[in-house]
């Protein structure tokens, strides 16, 4: 908890985006999380991603559940829509909001407790339905607000701060997301903004359920020797398969990648993801291979990060349901009650 008010002054030469905003204009209130919390770095990455994409803050809805992670929407995009919902219920609140107004950008922020325990089912259904959203899990492997009990994502064999060894098997959120049909799946680390910011940007641009698992060390309860979610452990065992450069609008001015190391992935809105491959064999469009790659490396104690899977020509819930292009909340009585003649026609077609 910090009581010093963050000064309004900013660096006089900060870059500005299309709307004349600096990244400071995308901030929220000062974080009340513990000093050094990985979640604050994710907050900073979301701020940076929205700034770089020149998103208008009022076009964003940030929705969360309960937990340390779910407090973070207060700390970014102070001028956006927000909904701090019930524990584990972010996905259903977000699905409803998305159905009512498909024009907003939906940022669902959750944690390992919120999504892998109480909200596990909610998470699964939002993914399989393909709700057009960014689903960020701020994953620290412990219940921080209740003083550091293991969460469902804690690895078997990892040690708590008090020395207790975890005997339960871990839920790998990335593996589940791949299996149940998320069309964009990535993992990153709060301590690596170079990798995380472009992933968030790409996820925002993605049309469909985009899932990012962000390992985020809990400085208070899970940053000790024996933890598998500490800064040191994640840095040592990070197996990055690729890095992204997200290009929006204008084509890149110069491309200086070595041949064969870059794959260009075009998104539905024309955004191009330049995928710098660290592992030349890795194919981001192969769901099955991604799952086995993940399992294989997990067995070796490695944490695979990067863009792990992206579906070509992904479609979202509105596409599946064939809803109208206009947001439902913008439809007037005229469109909703087209009159007896139209009704008769529909009835006739069903006879």
């Amino acid at each position: 908890m910090t009581y010093v008010v963050k000064p309004k002054f900013r660096h006089p030469e900060l870059p500005k985006n299309k709307f004349g905003y600096t990244h400071r204009d995308y901030e929220g209130a000062v974080s009340t999380l513990c000093a050094g919390c990985g979640h604050d770095s994710i907050t900073a990455s979301i701020i940076e991603a929205c700034f770089e994409l020149s998103i208008e803050p009022h076009r964003v809805a940030k929705i969360s559940g309960i937990g340390c992670s779910s407090k973070t929407p207060t700390y970014f995009l102070g001028n956006s829509h927000g909904f701090n919902s019930v524990h584990g219920r972010m996905p259903s609140v977000l699905t409803g909001a998305n159905l009512a107004n498909r024009d907003l950008i939906y940022l669902g922020v959750s944690g390992d407790g919120d999504s892998a325990s109480i909200g596990f089912g909610q998470f699964a259904h939002a993914m399989r339905r393909g709700v057009n959203m960014v689903y960020i899990v701020e994953n620290n492997g412990v219940y921080g607000l209740t003083k550091g009990q293991f969460s469902a994502t804690a690895d078997r064999g990892s040690k708590s701060k008090r020395g207790v060894v975890n005997s339960d098997s871990a839920i790998d959120m990335v593996g589940i997301a791949l299996q149940i049909g998320a069309s964009f799946v990535a993992r990153s680390f709060s301590g690596d903004k170079k990798q995380l910011v472009p992933l968030i940007k790409a996820a925002i641009e993605h049309n469909g359920a985009a899932f990012i698992d962000v390992i985020s060390p809990c400085v208070a309860f899970n940053n000790h020797a024996g933890s598998t979610k500490s800064f040191d452990y994640v840095r040592e065992h990070n197996e990055a398969v690729n890095f992204l450069d997200v290009m929006t609008g204008r084509p890149p001015i110069h491309v200086d990648y070595a041949p064969g190391t870059v794959e260009m992935v075009e998104q539905h809105d024309g955004t191009v993801l330049a995928l710098r491959k660290l592992d030349a064999e890795y194919d981001v469009h192969d769901r099955l291979a991604a799952m086995s790659f993940l399992q294989h490396h997990a067995d070796q104690g490695q944490i695979v990060t990067g863009l792990l899977y992206v579906e070509r020509d992904a479609e979202d819930l509105h596409g599946h349901l064939n809803t109208v292009a206009a947001p439902l909340n913008a439809l007037s009585e005229k469109e909703l009650c087209p009159g007896t003649a139209v009704l008769d026609k529909i009835n006739a077609s069903l006879r």
């Binding site: 008010v5 000064p7 002054f9 000062v30 050094g36 919390c37 940053n223």
Partner: protein, 596 residues
């Protein structure tokens, strides 16, 4: 880049921009905090030790600290450092008991000081308590030098000047007033252990154009005229006055004229308004008193009617840069402009004059007829003779004179002890963490967003009625507190310990000014291009911290750091700490006698 050596005294001193820019290196943030705490006497003493004349400088200083103030790089205007100094002087208690006592014992050394201005008085203040017999000579009957003769009383009341000069005289200094030193050789023959020359730059430049001799009765040299006004020899001037020149003396001349019967006072300057040498605030004050400033006019002739001045004729010019980029004034073809007037004050510069120093007495002079003076020790080529103030390097200002005085006093003290004058004492540095507990810091690190507060002025009509009535009223306690709150506490330094850092990025994320970056090392020029925010101010250092587990470095651009302490506040491991670096320049005093 190599990791920053923060134990080098200059590194953090430079971060305290105001103190670094002050010739006397006054610990500015320290006294501003004391003012905010209502401890005016303490604030005064911090100043008095460092710059000797807080009340005088708080009204008249040229303020090199203010353009340097970090606040000016963050928002529109710097902290009103100078006028806060005056607050300390205005609201202090009787501090006489806290001043040094006259030396209990004379050390047998006699020092002659030529001129009783700020430089000589600073030397005397530093040396007298150590037991030196200081004898100050001046042609005027009272001490103060140009502070008395050239600064009008409506800017510097006599009471303030007298008070601060008296503090020095009370140290047991002998003042010989009304005595002009006419021969350096004769003075040297009096066997003083050292001689300090602080006689200023006493000769006002004249303007040798047609009509000068004929109309001489109504054409006055600015600094001489101000001096006569100061001593009460002149108390009237004509209704229409033209002041020639664009420096601070010209501003004092025109404003004094307004108070001595000048209804229509004009300042006419050769150069453009922006290039005028006068400080911006002095120009503002003159214009506020209905004195127009005319630019790009070169005086050609004093017109007169049988010896009675009728006005000044000017040629119109425009500024143009030549091939080498030097500015030149090119006459336009417009007709000459005539300004009718009753009196002219010539304030077109002043220069040094040493007719009394025989050129064979062992003091070398350079081709500009200035003594050769070592800028560090203030020593001339004669082992016993030192210079300071305007006498050393030409016209500067009071704060430079004080700084010279401190340096000369150290030299004289070392000379008299038979030590090497070239060896200088290092500054005294006191480092202390400001952390008092969780979320508790010993300084006020909330950043006030307030704009600079204006100093209240006396009503114009009242001010113009009496030349002794001070125009600026000074901040009251409430305004002083608000202005003091604008100070960013740049002496409370961000100190980084790489061994403690876990690279969690908390400091990077919270820093309101994007000062901090963790990245791969590189050379400085290249590093500056890839920081969190552009680091284009090359006068400000990059602070490099190493010993990080990932092999990266921590780079902090000192340029616009607010010293708010949020990095330390959000650091989970105490790798960042806010530590107050008090840097005191060592003066000639017994406590600092060190063996080099």
């Amino acid at each position: 880049m190599k990791p920053t050596d923060i134990s080098a005294p200059d590194y953090f001193h430079k971060v305290v921009d105001c103190q670094w820019a002050c010739p006397a290196h006054t610990p500015v943030p320290e006294y501003i905090r004391l003012i905010a705490a209502g401890r005016y006497s303490d604030a005064y003493m911090v100043n008095w030790e460092s710059n000797v004349f807080p009340g005088i400088l708080g009204r008249t200083c040229d303020r090199p600290c203010e353009p340097a103030c970090r606040r000016g790089r963050v928002e529109a205007e710097p902290v009103a450092i100078c006028r806060l100094k005056r607050v300390a002087a205005d609201f202090k208690d009787d501090i006489r008991a806290r001043l040094p006592k006259p030396a209990a014992q004379n050390n047998g050394k006699r020092i002659a000081l030529v001129g009783a201005g700020p430089a000589s008085l600073a030397v005397a203040r530093d040396l007298a308590p150590l037991g030196y017999a200081c004898i100050v000579f001046d042609q005027d009957p009272q001490v103060g030098g140009m502070m008395r003769t050239q600064i009008p009383k409506f800017r510097l009341p006599e009471s303030v000047l007298d008070e601060e000069c008296q503090y020095i005289l009370d140290l047991g200094i002998a003042f010989v007033g009304g005595k002009r030193i006419d021969s350096m050789t004769a003075l040297l023959n009096e066997n003083f252990d050292a001689i300090f020359v602080g006689c200023g730059a006493p000769r006002g430049r004249d303007l040798d154009i047609p009509g000068r001799k004929e109309a001489a009765k109504n054409i006055h040299i600015g600094i001489d005229w101000l001096s006569s006004v100061s001593f009460g020899h002149i108390d009237r001037i004509g209704k229409r006055v033209v002041v020639l020149g664009g420096g601070n003396t010209a501003m004092d001349c025109c404003r004094s004229s307004r108070r001595l019967g000048g209804d229509e006072v004009k300042v006419v300057v050769r150069s453009g308004f922006e290039e005028m040498k006068a400080s911006a605030w002095e120009k503002d004050d003159a214009m506020h008193e209905d004195i127009p400033i005319f630019n790009y006019l070169v005086p050609k002739e004093f017109t007169h009617d049988n010896g009675k001045l009728t006005g000044v004729l000017f040629e119109k010019v425009r500024a143009e840069r030549d091939a080498k980029g030097r500015r030149q004034l090119i006459p336009t073809d417009e007709p000459a402009q005539h300004f009718p007037c009753d009196d002219v004050l010539v304030a077109v510069g002043q220069e040094n004059a040493f007719p009394w120093i025989e050129r064979d007495c062992g003091i070398a002079f350079d081709k500009w007829n200035m003594p050769e003076v070592d800028p560090k020790t203030m020593a001339s080529t004669h082992p016993k003779v030192f210079f300071g103030g305007d006498a050393a390097f030409g016209p500067k200002n009071i704060i430079w004179a004080v700084a010279h005085g401190h340096d000369a006093a150290i030299s004289i003290d070392r000379l008299c002890r038979g030590e090497d004058v070239a060896v200088r004492p290092p500054p005294q540095i006191n480092v202390a963490s400001q952390k008092m507990g969780i979320h508790e810091w010993s300084y006020d690190n909330e950043i006030a967003l307030d704009k600079r507060y204006r100093v209240p002025h006396r009503d114009k009509a009242l001010s113009l009625r009496d030349i002794k009535s001070e125009v600026e009223l000074g901040y009251d306690v409430e305004l002083a507190l608000k202005e003091a709150e604008r100070c960013l506490n740049c002496d409370v330094q961000t100190v980084f310990t790489g061994q403690l850092c876990i690279e969690c990025d908390a400091c990077v994320d919270i820093c309101p000014m994007d000062c901090i970056t963790f990245t791969q090392n590189g050379d400085e020029a290249e590093l500056r291009t890839r920081l969190q925010a552009p680091a284009q101010n090359l006068t400000q250092d990059l602070y490099i911290g190493n010993s990080l587990k990932t092999g990266r470095i921590m780079v902090k651009d000192e340029d616009v750091c607010l010293h708010c302490g949020l990095c330390a506040e959000r650091c989970p491991t105490g790798a960042w700490d806010m530590q107050k670096y008090l840097i005191d320049m060592t003066l000639a005093e017994p406590a600092c006698h060190f063996k080099a």
